[in-house]
Symmetry: C2
Subunit: 155 residues, 2 copies
């Protein structure tokens, strides 16, 4: 199990997830930048994932749809500001709430053969940050990071 | 002269510029989405502007270089998350400070034949926001908005 902490202080625009993944940095980075691998870990396990677009390069775009058991679709999209082993910086928008965009920065650091993943998200408003936190970000953080670890360990 | 206010409360990630531009919304929007027009108003007047890339569409990228009298270059780049008359959402990075990215959201509203422009910027950290504010954002806001008004009025 990956050790994961989620931090979202009150009255701030940002939230941070830090996880120590028991896999090499190259494998973790691959799990972030390969559409098939990414779709295996990013969503809650009760949802299926359809990747409509995934261009993990600087200037690329992405659109990913989560589908629940009843066929309801939850679409997310954004653009990649930077994709490099140093950091991945991308925008996020839940299409059902247009105009609410967040900026995520993921950094990777090798620590004793493991990989420390820091995901920092900043929202346009404190209310958006609170909404994101309470609508699944906080609950999903350890689940997603465990899934990421499994995918990275399989490589 | 455009009426411009700049707000950056202490200990926050964001800053907001609001300006009432005495020109139609269509002209203001064009001044934001045409490379030649944009380069006429975005920079401080003592700098010349070179547009290396300007793709003002959802998913597009941009890179603009300001050049001072001594030939020193100050390059900025980012990606467009959304470009529509409703809002322009884009990332910003000063290339001399890699890894410090901000997210800007510009909205346009018609008010009695004028155009209210609201530019909201959120940074990855409070320190970045303070740095941006003090390195020219606050001082340039009214200058840039006046330049924008002139360009929009010329259309």
């Amino acid at each position: 199990m990956a050790e994961t902490t989620f931090t979202a202080e009150p009255n701030r625009h940002d939230a941070t997830t830090v996880s120590l993944i028991d896999a090499p940095l190259s494998a973790v980075y691959k799990a972030y930048t390969d559409a098939d691998l990414y779709s295996q870990w990013w969503a809650p396990p009760e949802l299926t994932v359809r990747v409509d677009r995934f261009e993990p390069v600087t200037g690329g775009s992405w659109r990913i749809v989560n589908v629940d058991a009843d066929g309801n679709e939850y679409a997310f999209r954004g653009v990649f500001h930077e994709v490099s082993p140093e950091r991945i910086v991308q925008t996020w928008e839940f299409e059902a709430m247009p105009g609410h965009v967040s900026l995520e920065t993921v950094t990777f650091e090798e620590v004793d053969g493991k990989t420390k993943v820091t995901s920092h998200t900043v929202c346009q408003s404190i209310e958006d940050r609170d909404g994101l936190k309470d609508s699944g970000m906080e609950a999903h953080a350890p689940v997603g990071m465990n899934q990421l670890e499994k995918v990275a360990q399989s490589l």
